[in-house]
């Protein structure tokens, strides 16, 4: 490891992972540039849009405002970790069914944040869904389809259990 670099070990989408990177890189930059997981998006870079949201130890955080070195020892889930091999996560299916994605740029952040909500509160109501997703901005859909998709996914997941 060179001067000015860090090495971390963490669990990324269920796999033990180690990665070396320049100290100044954010988790978002390391995911995209060092680990080639480009599902997580660069948005505003300042915590105003939610496009870079990932789960760290199950909680949604903004990967653009987190230094990657802080992810050492954590469990990180990105949008690439939602599907079960070729089977989409119920949230991903519902987003497709409901037209909850148009340009798709904000979708990974919405999916990760919604997953955290349903993991914690599988029967979340419309108000709880809109509050949980308040930090994610979508400029295409007008949000209604997104809320409906989360409700549809919650209903499907409840039936499966």
């Amino acid at each position: 490891m060179k001067n000015g670099e860090q090495r971390i070990e963490f669990t990324l989408n269920g796999d033990k992972t180690s990665v070396t990177f320049p100290t100044f890189k954010t988790l978002l930059e390391v995911l995209r540039e060092e680990l080639n997981l480009t599902g997580t998006k660069h948005g505003c870079e300042l915590g105003e849009c939610g496009a870079c949201a990932v789960l760290v130890d199950g909680k949604p955080v903004l990967s653009c405002l987190m230094l990657a070195v802080e992810a050492d020892g954590t469990k990180v889930t990105t949008v690439e970790g939602l599907a079960d091999d070729a089977r989409l996560h119920p949230l991903q299916e519902a987003f497709a069914d409901c037209g909850a994605a148009q340009c798709g740029y904000c979708t990974p952040g919405f999916l990760c944040t919604a997953k955290a909500l349903l993991d914690k509160k599988p029967d979340a109501n419309r108000r709880e869904i809109s509050e949980a997703l308040a930090g994610n901005i979508c400029r295409c859909t007008g949000y209604i389809q997104i809320f409906e998709a989360v409700e549809q996914a919650a209903a499907k997941m409840a039936v499966k259990k």
Partner: protein, 322 residues
């Protein structure tokens, strides 16, 4: 992202104070504000000292003096703490009012209290304003619609914290740690007007950082009302924190502190007096009207005066029986 720095995981408060004494060192809590400043090109630390690696610094605990909340406690954990909310409802409400769910999962109480202003001239590297060691305030003849109506310059930022006005109302004490040891002070004394120090809103000596905040439970009734332009998440355009004691239909003790309208949490003693000498229902009008006494709006922000009165009126009304 930015220019290189050396990263340190502090293991103890003493070690953090020693590391923060290095030239160009800055403390890292959740990073939400610091990384933003670095990306905006207005901050380039040579050393970043992580405080979240200090075991136990995130504790939220009840003591014989009230509640002690460690500096790295997350805003989410404060908002979700059922026992704390019972004793200090306004504090939990203020933590819940901050930013977005994701930011509350990262942001710490220490960082919230020591965050820097959002004034666009301050945040833009190309303006050498008085807060950044330059001359004058470009907002005086420029865009000032979201800026201060109190404080009289020479810098007209509004303090961005939601928790700070509430903690001033609750008469909290801040515990600071530095290379020379620990000290504590009323949180109101932590903040300084630009006329005293235009460069920074708070008083920390070199190497010092916030270790904890202690909140007495002597004022059991409290609330925080925040008015934002965008309801999903935003900084306050006006906010009102009230903490006090209620006997029957009136306040026997009341502290009223405004947010989003001054460079520091702005206590309104006249609103407090009006709140104490009337029943709660009768206090709404005189207390909210007097809360903006002494306000001196800039060219574009007189609209914040009725907005502030509305925040105070809503806060008082929340104590009326439903």
């Amino acid at each position: 992202m930015t220019s290189p720095f050396t990263f340190w995981d502090a293991r103890t408060a003493e070690e953090a104070a020693a590391l923060l004494s290095k030239k160009g060192a800055m403390a890292l809590g959740g990073g939400v504000d610091l990384l933003g400043e670095m990306k905006e090109g207005i901050r380039a630390p040579e050393h970043i000292v992580n405080l979240r690696s200090i075991p136990g610094l995130d504790k939220i605990q009840k003591t014989d003096r009230g509640w002690r909340v460690g500096a790295t406690a997350l805003l989410t954990d404060i908002a979700d703490h059922a026992d704390l909310r019972k004793d200090l409802p306004g504090f939990a409400e203020s933590a819940e009012a901050v930013a977005t769910p994701q930011i509350r999962n990262q942001g710490t109480i220490g960082g919230n209290l020591a965050q820097r202003p959002r004034c666009w001239y301050y945040r833009a590297a190309e303006f050498a304003c008085v807060k950044k060691g330059g001359k004058g305030c470009p907002a005086e003849k420029g865009e000032n619609r979201y800026l201060a109506i109190f404080g009289d310059g020479p810098c007209h930022i509004v303090h961005p914290s939601d928790c700070a006005p509430m903690l001033v109302a609750l008469d909290a004490r801040l515990f600071l740690r530095g290379p020379d040891g620990a000290r504590d002070l009323p949180i109101a004394d932590f903040y300084e007007l630009p006329s005293k120090n235009a460069l920074c809103e708070f008083t920390l000596k070199p190497g010092e950082f916030i270790e904890a905040v202690e909140i007495p439970t002597a004022l059991p009734r409290s609330t925080y009302v925040k008015i934002r332009e965008k309801d999903s998440f935003d900084f306050a355009i006006a906010a009102c924190a009230i903490a006090g004691k209620i006997d029957g239909d009136h306040f026997t003790d009341a502290r009223v502190v405004l947010g989003g309208v001054a460079p520091v949490p702005w206590r309104s003693v006249t609103a407090e007096a009006n709140l104490r000498k009337n029943t709660i229902a009768d206090a709404v009008e005189p207390a909210s009207n007097s809360a903006t006494d002494g306000a001196r709006p800039m060219s574009q922000n007189a609209w914040k005066i009725p907005m502030t009165k509305a925040a105070v009126a809503r806060a008082i009304r929340s104590f009326l029986p439903r």
